[in-house]
Symmetry: C2
Subunit: 967 residues, 2 copies
Amino acid sequence: EQHTHKHTCTHTLHTFTHTHFLSSNRSTDMGSESEIPLSPAAERLRYILGEDDDLPTPTLFTEMDTLQHDGDDMEWKESARWVKFEEKVEEGGERWSKPHVSTLTLHSLFELRTCIQTGSVLLDLEGYSLPEIVDDIVDRQVADGLIGPELREKVSFVLLRKHRHQHKKPMHRSLADMGKSNNCPANHAQSRSMNDISDTPSTDQLKNKFMKKIPRDAEASNVLIGEVDFLDKPFVAFVRLAQATTLGGLTEVPVPTRFLFVLLGPHGKGKSYNEIGRAIATLMVDDLFSDVAYKARDRDDLIAGIDEFLDEVIVLPPGEWDPKIRIEPPKKVPSADMRKSVLNLNELGQVNGAVGGAGGGEDEEMPAPHELGEELQFTGRFCGGLWLDIKRKVPWILSDFSQGFHIQSISAVLFIYLGCITNAITFGGLLGDATDNYQGVMESFLGTALAGTVFCLLGGQPLIILSSTGPILIFEKLLYEFCKSNTIDYMELRLWIGLHSCLQCLILVATDASYIIKYITRFTEEGFSSLISFIFISDAIKKMYYPINRGFKPDYVTSYKCECIAPDQVRILHKSGLYGRYNITGLDWSQLSKKECVKYGGALLGNTCKYVPDLALMSFILFFGTYSMTVSLKKFKTSRYFPTMLRKLISDFSIFMSIMTFVGLDMLVGLDTPKLIVPTEFKPTRPDRGWLVMPFGKNPWWVYVASAVPALLVTILIFMDQQISAVIVNRKENKLKKGCGYHLDLFWVGILMAVCSFLGLPWYVAATVISIAHIDSLKMESESSAPGEQPQFLGVREQRLTGILVFVLNGVSIFLAPVLQYIPMPVLYGVFLYMGVASLAGIQFWERIKLYLMPAKHQPDFSFLRHVPLRRVHLFTLVQIICLAVLWILKSTVAAIIFPVMILGLMVVRKMMDLIFSQHDLAWLDDILPEKDKKKEKGGKKKKDNKKTKAAAETESDEEPPVSDWE
Amino acid sequence: EQHTHKHTCTHTLHTFTHTHFLSSNRSTDMGSESEIPLSPAAERLRYILGEDDDLPTPTLFTEMDTLQHDGDDMEWKESARWVKFEEKVEEGGERWSKPHVSTLTLHSLFELRTCIQTGSVLLDLEGYSLPEIVDDIVDRQVADGLIGPELREKVSFVLLRKHRHQHKKPMHRSLADMGKSNNCPANHAQSRSMNDISDTPSTDQLKNKFMKKIPRDAEASNVLIGEVDFLDKPFVAFVRLAQATTLGGLTEVPVPTRFLFVLLGPHGKGKSYNEIGRAIATLMVDDLFSDVAYKARDRDDLIAGIDEFLDEVIVLPPGEWDPKIRIEPPKKVPSADMRKSVLNLNELGQVNGAVGGAGGGEDEEMPAPHELGEELQFTGRFCGGLWLDIKRKVPWILSDFSQGFHIQSISAVLFIYLGCITNAITFGGLLGDATDNYQGVMESFLGTALAGTVFCLLGGQPLIILSSTGPILIFEKLLYEFCKSNTIDYMELRLWIGLHSCLQCLILVATDASYIIKYITRFTEEGFSSLISFIFISDAIKKMYYPINRGFKPDYVTSYKCECIAPDQVRILHKSGLYGRYNITGLDWSQLSKKECVKYGGALLGNTCKYVPDLALMSFILFFGTYSMTVSLKKFKTSRYFPTMLRKLISDFSIFMSIMTFVGLDMLVGLDTPKLIVPTEFKPTRPDRGWLVMPFGKNPWWVYVASAVPALLVTILIFMDQQISAVIVNRKENKLKKGCGYHLDLFWVGILMAVCSFLGLPWYVAATVISIAHIDSLKMESESSAPGEQPQFLGVREQRLTGILVFVLNGVSIFLAPVLQYIPMPVLYGVFLYMGVASLAGIQFWERIKLYLMPAKHQPDFSFLRHVPLRRVHLFTLVQIICLAVLWILKSTVAAIIFPVMILGLMVVRKMMDLIFSQHDLAWLDDILPEKDKKKEKGGKKKKDNKKTKAAAETESDEEPPVSDWE
């Protein structure tokens, strides 16, 4: 009998290779160039999978139970489970292993194939309880002569034993366990009745938290593997039920069972059976095979499914891999649709080779071209772009608010609010200095709140945060100096410039001029944002300078003092050099504080006057501490500690927590660090100006006209700053879904320009770094579903609520002064530093700079490195670095007002690089400029390119399965 | 004809499955329990591999070249190479990919099998040049009727085309490349002659730096893959040369070629051919198959080799893995010997199952027992252990010095020297306080130098660093107080205690008493070292306290002062509360410095007297900066930046570089931070004591006898401290090769005790933390050989030189004072902190504590977690934490002198844990205590256990191949 079985197996495997070989012929047969017919296996699959593709098959949850003997008692014990990846029960550890890729042996797959070929296959079995199903299986086996009828009882008995599942044991058992020295004793009396399995799900099953990891529509497949003493050859059955049925305590979770695989065999081969069980379980969770299993009409369809699976497996050489290593689930796996389409596309011949094997992707394919979408099409109609922008934005109005209600929004609002308010105070202070307080901190607050709220409420891209920027500050400074020296009224001139500029912006909007920004490629975009980040970082660091009393000798502490000297005395001292002490006036000068002393005209004399002890270092600690704590807490999301939810919360609120910590530290130490001081009264900074600027009366008429010239500069400045920031925000990587609104953005910036000019408030434009921070703080990730699956970046919470809240908060900050006054400025500059550094992350330019310091063998596997020689990459980076260095030097001089014009310069440099670099290299390192792209497409490869792009898009988004074009 | 070929292939694959199935039968045939004969494949391999196992086959370097067409010209271009792992040429990037595991498709392996079966196999071909060899191949093909004679010329022409190898292009080509927009043009005129290949290696070959990655004895195997237009079916040849021959420019490196695999075929199947080429190349570098290839007698042996390879492959399911991912080489792969032994052990049946498949290692095997080696055997002879120690150490005397000459030693010496000197100064200062300067910094320096040098020169384990330790300090303090209050002469009493203690130590040595430390398991050892590390860390942090002038208001800077008040004035002021200013004596009190003021009896008055501005924060920055810079630089070894050598250097000298940096910062800021001050004159700290202590005369006679009692305490203290530190140093993980010398160590510690007592120097004993730091700084790693292979930890540079140098430097530190005085103490405490934290790394106890904070699913895959339930692990850790907490509390009280006795307490607790935990759990979490171990072995499983331990040992060390027990 034993011999018969062996013979059967041999026969089956012969059949396998026959079909397998044909299938291997399909794509890679050596030497034939003619059209090759599909292998029988693939042919079968094409047929059954093509039947009704519209009805997706449910996800399968697979549980493998093995038979445990405890003396005479037997029970089924869960030993592994699969949602997508394998989780094994660690016997001794009484715990689940981490999800890992199921590494199988070729052996076990071949043996499984034999099992399916020789065992009983019962498809669409009608059965409402396990005993019924077991009866059917045994009947079939007896009928087929696979087991003798005398074993009927015994097999049924074994199959109806109780199932014990791996549940988390509560911690409080630890103490109860003390004293028991052997692990897991059978502490429940084993039932000896025929059927141990109840019909209804147990509370354990219902309470199982694992349920939430399984999709709602899931069905179960149960794999039962056991060694028994009454069989002398294996008992194999594969069952598909007509209806998925909850079979009592069979499955760990209350999921109805659809498939059942049973393998019982004689003692001594447990390991081998186990491997076969793992093989069928792995197959059952395979997207393609599970489809086959659902749709199979007979045994041969299942065999064809296994053959197709074997055809796709990846093989690791035994000498290069340790089979004991559990392979972590990869970040991404090929989608089932992709794999099915490969099945269909096989006629094209080459595909299989390209998919299989790591070395296969040698195609010199170009990356998908830079797509800016229809937003930047030149319509040619008056206000055509603006109209399209509005049409695009209107349908989202409701969701623009509803999507804002999420805990993440709170942290985003806090973060961006603190960024904005710091910015407003910094720029307010600087503007105040530059314009003799015509515009000061108060105006800065008010303007930020007004412009920001309007823009976030009505703008095209509400994720953009408006703010004062460096170039505008410099422009205002120069303008004020010009006015003062030519006795022109500053506020009136400024109003006219604003009006002209507003008009010019509106003209740009009406003529769809924003379309030119499609010439802004990654080169320009990354150059601009890096530069802005560097400026941000360097500003933050510059603010940290405080003098230190270097060379302080504790021994001479007695000689360190700072005294207030009366004014006349000062003169005497200067003359005589004598440090006497005569009180001339009635005032007791020595009792005055520093401020009073200066106020009354006294002079401060001594070696400690300009120093505040510990201030510099304390500021440094606050600054650097806030920065590094924020960085660490952000990273905490990927740490091993604490539950996922808590980690996510900590990561989201990292900035808030860091600020709180260091505000606390500052209060504890009690040093007089510089604090955030907001105005508390609602009135213009300069008492001699009102809230409204009148357009006429103070300047000669020609000034009203001539102001169009400086306005042009402001317009260019605003246009470039605004639109490049918008391009950066709208980057493909951010996966924005609501489209952009370049024209609408510019429209509102122009209008706000005029409004702010009338109110005498600063001008506002998109702030790159804060906008990036805004986006970053609103990123969404998928909740990981199957254990081991990586969470995917889904996109950004695109809504208007956070932006509006930020600016409303800015407006009411006047009332928040009692709270805000505890925040030390160094802490806020730490936040600035974090913003600057964080906005550099993920910039390819930055990655390429790092390559300079890495030996080639340590460089990360960037796709552009696979396709462009390193020296070309370095050259490209070098050009970028030189451009930035030039820009950096220019922006440190008065030339800073033409800064936006220099961005145009960057675009010219990029254009010239077409001469140095091949389009192939540029496609990998940057994007191809529009015309070039068109030319390319006109060239011969158009069709092929399209196909590839499509395939790439599918791999990335797998939204729509490709239409099957056969049959 | 095409059809014929196909048919042949089918036939071949039929044959394959036949043999394969038999081979699969071998270990896991279902249902048969009888002895199964080996499959023909395994039978063959056993035969050919068993022939002469004594002669190892050379390592193979495999290069794969593919045929490139450039118009009418053709050349062979290197496309991948294998030393152990695959490195691919990135076409566009013109660079080597990272080494990765060759992931193959099952397809390509089957097709390769067909190729070998149908193509020409020429074994032991005599040929001294490529043309000869090519002629032979073509002749054979023609003779076998595989190609027509008319193709002879064409095939030869193709096979003799030039080979272009992937060499690093120099960077200066970048500029020359500018303007060329298509990549790699054929810039050398293609030769049209019959033979493009020179006979001698080119300079390019000879200069290739890659040569050093290939073992000296290596031979090459060349794989040539090409598409040509004149063939209509594949041309396949596998050649083994009788002699490895350098075939001109065939191979990238000047390594003689032994194997040649040629696959030419019609156009259109390039991808498929490529995969076949990768398959044979992967097979050629497989340890087992390369043996087969060297020893194969005919085609069928090669086929058997492929079958055996297929039998061992690991399979990844297509739905769970993305074939595009390049798998990084694993840390460890199963050794070839292991795999060969599996081949032989197949008769035992179960082995294959245990090796194949990730889920296979379910064996509840115990970890290898804790082995302390023969060093701790109780000899029963007088001084037996000591004698063995000396015998063990003598053969190493020369290498103990010669192995010290290495650059790493310099960094180790600097590091440990700084640690020792800081320790000497700290303890010296504390001892001076405790004993009214009977022992001060000077004595501490001298004693450290003397004891350390002697111990490192003559001790059993020269890696141990002697130092003063906490318990001894407390003992001295109590002893001095006792002497003072009872008017007993301290130095003389101390001498007698030292002498008694020395005697007691010698008795312990003579009686082999150290053998009891085999009861010190991981539990005790890790508890002790954690505690010492915590003490180290807390001491370092405690030293960092400096007062900060909190609440300093810069506005009132005028009122901050510190004045010197004359003594009589002080009284007046106290009475009247009047802050007048009358000079009573002739001294100008206000001009005095702080020290002078105190000296003349003045009082310091004012609110800044006790503060030094910026000192506290500067110290903090120095302290924390040194620590974190050291940590970062240490980690730098695994960073991607800079070449390996430089990284290693930075990592080795991390402490030195951090110290230099922060000393520089300190000098730059110029604050009066506390500096390292060493004595500059060679004389006892207390002027009234000499360098020698006389044993008699000052105390009554009974004191000489009674001092034996406190001496007993000191002996226990020294014994425990010394031996536990030695156990920690001798840990198995450190892979020490020269054996330990517990008895010899104790002998010298005893002798030094007496010597130091005579000289009035402190007593010395092994310092755990510094000794661990010493070991860590001397760790060796293998230079990685094959690309992608991970460097292995080889052991520690065991030598006496570094230790001796450290202590000699300590001795001459008196002369180094001018340099050392620039080092601020906070920097040194930063080094202390680093030492403390670093010695915690790798302690399992610490890893287990972290588990408390991790949700189960994020916990690392520790082997003990696979075998022990989490709650038991937590309970075990909890017991350890409680023990340490108790010890910590005790050591903070006077009870600290019985600290070493408490270690005995730890051992008792461990003993009691036998009652709570099963031996199984303890074997995984700790080690089994000696008797238990014996009992266990007496139990039934003895034989099986041994076998498993042996197998495990082989996996780990693969030193000796197991003796083949068949035939």
